[in-house]
Amino acid sequence: MAQNDTLINGWQPVIGLEIHTQLLTNTKLFSPSINKFGEEANTLVDLIDMGLPGVLPVLNDGAVKQGIAFGLATNAEIAKTMVFDRKNYFYPDLPKGYQITQLHYPIVKNGSVDVDGKKIRIHQAHLEEDAGKSMHDIYDLESVVDLNRSGIPLLEIVSEPDISSSEEAVKYLKKIHQIITYLDISDGNMSQGSMRCDANVSLMRPEDTKLGTRAEIKNINSFKFVEKAINFEIKRQIKILESGAKVEQETRLYDSIKDETRSMRTKEFANDYRYFPCPDLVPYNISEDLIKEVKDSLSELPEEKQKRLIETYNLNEYDAAVLCAEKSIANFFEKVAENADALLAAKWIIGDLNALLNKNDIALSESKITTANFSVLIQKISDNTISGKIAKEVLEAIWESGEDVAKIIEDKGLQQISNESELEAIVDKIIDDNPSQVAAYKSGKDKLFGYFVGQVMKATQGKANPGLVNIILKNKLI
């Protein structure tokens, strides 16, 4: 498995990810409570989520279908029969004293995804319920629990240790993110915790046949942190191994502020979860009919969408791939393309809009950019109301304020000058003011043409219609 370009100091990192994704079902995994983020504490809770005595879980078929969809999208085996198990441990935000999960008979097994031409295998994906949330910083002396999250369905996606670098780990995570958001089974929002990641990291020499001892880093909640946490962990383990010591099998926590991982508990103190089949839920048989039903209603997957965008909008392969990296962006593009020039829209989304999103590290949905205001922006570029240069300025203004595009152009007086006589007057003045440059240009210094364009733009604060300026200048400079 060793790939030499991923060796660090002669060590081969071996990485596996466990990704928890909250599923977008209407109700929770085992109760009729609403599955929703951001509501007032303990308002989305029923008897089952509170673990009251005598209450019983009833499996949400919607979550089963979403699990099957994931399996189909990753070429995995869908279980004929899946079994739920109890994972027993005490914690205040775990009302029953056990979590219902799947250990030996998960819904999905043996899948894989392609990451830049490399196959990363998925060991299994299983359904389980989320725990509540403990909060320790609201009151001075007391901790409190919010059970809104208790019972929200999770799909835990466990990879094989096929990942060789932190960079590849991020790519794999993004791939999974892409799949689950395209399938509409999760919103994949890492900052809200609807997608969380644990990383298992170990090191080995390329010639070794046995994996090294791994450390598990818990609860990493952004793409950036995945990379940083793994990098830190690799360095830490190299230091240990090269000092002749052994890496201890343990669970570690990533501290994003200090950019380090810290030990949570060693193997010796690991919980004994006393897994056993949950007697309240009978083994669940997944019929061929159900799989077919899910298959028939499967959402468009990234590759399919990419292909369709190329055919429909004449996009090149690269642009289509960039647009389809995130479903929200691809959908945004298609919406904008309904009312504005598609190729121009693609260019602006891939270029300037993406740059803004990356710089601010937020999702499109969290920004003030909408399909409406972005479409108008593209229209204004197409119809020469504003130049590309001005458009950048307008985009930034919308980004900041979310204000109406037309209003921004109006208020800032950014309208492009396309009035011929007005531009001719400006050009005449520049020719008069720069006799030596004119002479040089006429004697063959073609490159000076750009200088004159620059002067016109300077005089108009960039508002001159560049096409028109070119024509006028060419005529006047003959």
């Binding site: 209450v55 027993n88 009302p95 056990y98």
Partner: protein, 476 residues
Amino acid sequence: MTFKETRAQFRAKKVSAKELVQDSFKNINKHEELNIFISKFEDDAIAHAEHIDNNFSDFKDLPIGGIPIAHKDIFCTKGKKTTCASKMLESFVPPYDSTVTRNCYEAGSIMIGKTNMDEFAMGSSNETSFFGPVKNPWQKSLVPGGSSGGSAACIAAGITSISTGTDTGGSIRQPAALCGITGLKPTYGLISRWGMIAFCSSMDQAGPFAKDAFGCSALLDAMSSFDTKDSTCTKRQDKNFEASLVNDFGKLRIGVIKGIEDFGISESVLKAYENTKDVLQQMGHSFHELDFSELSSGICSYYVIAPAECSSNLSRFDGVKYGHRAKAENINDLYLISRSEGFGEEVQKRILIGTYVLSAGFYDAYYRKAQRVRRMIKSKFDKFFESVDLVFLPTTLDQAFKMNRESSDPNKMYKEDLLTIPANLAGLPAISFPNGFSNNLPIGAQFIGNYFTEDLILNTTNKFQEVTDWHKMTPS
């Protein structure tokens, strides 16, 4: 009065629901020292009875309309304390009804109180209750059996004509036998477990108590329903158990266990067993010997699986959300002290056993092996029912015993469940009915039937009771 007589009088308007409730409370007061009830609802019951009397026509045709009933305090009752006879839930008031109590309410019965039991249904003598032991109405120095001892004693003492219980390893049938009444553990999955506080989820099953099979049939009609809130509740063809009592199932092939006399059964119980065989033979049924040498291994399997599930089921009682909460400095102490104070000795013992058998390194040796034994016993019964219609055997090894007897020897108490546990392991329906009398105490025997053959079991018991009087005996 039996249930049948009580209901007939109510339907004929010879007695009002209110008078029936008043009678029940007269008897409750008379038998106060038996310690049958944890909660009593006299005012509510009277009000409910008046409502029924005022709307007589709406209730007269319901299976248990107008009839006072007592529920084991393991069934959650909305707005009414539900303790499971534990300090842990001493003041727990559920905001919801169990399906069983809701069904009984909708079938027109009047809940007069919640009955005493072994703590969290763990025990065979009713002595593990936080609220003190129940005494056997036949003789106050003896136990009524357990864990549904309160509900069984309630019928024997004539307080109500029907009551509910639960049976995980014999908790309906054993107290029925020791109190001289009839009690049925239905097929696992016939009655919803929603709102029934779990002990061992894969075996817990609610069931009816009455003096006779007729009362059990009517109450079973009321209790059972297909319930989507319980995933282990089985979708099945609805049967009317009371109506099926008049069916003719013909001459039955009855299985009896070869060498049953070698399992440590007392002389009096064996004698009653043999006499009953004679009666059944006279009724035209035939007997077939079954080889069931694995019978004893059932206990070992049960006392691994039941504690395992209980250790997990009882984890929710942690002092955080409801139930007993101790004063503590940190979360670990909160768990430790709340649970040490809230649970009695027997419950703690079983939690510890269960935690042990599920632990990494012991799981295969105990839990997995116990499940194998369980499957073996189940397939054994599957085989039996290829050649017989019912299996007949005593319910208990002996008659009611003295209080405090087995506290020094828990193994002896666990062994008491030898004859009842197999039906729980296999999930089969089984009834215990009075079939003899000795030393001024009743004796019980049981029929185990194939899955969902409650109609056959009740019908056969009813026909036996038509030609015998054991179920008519009452304590003086």
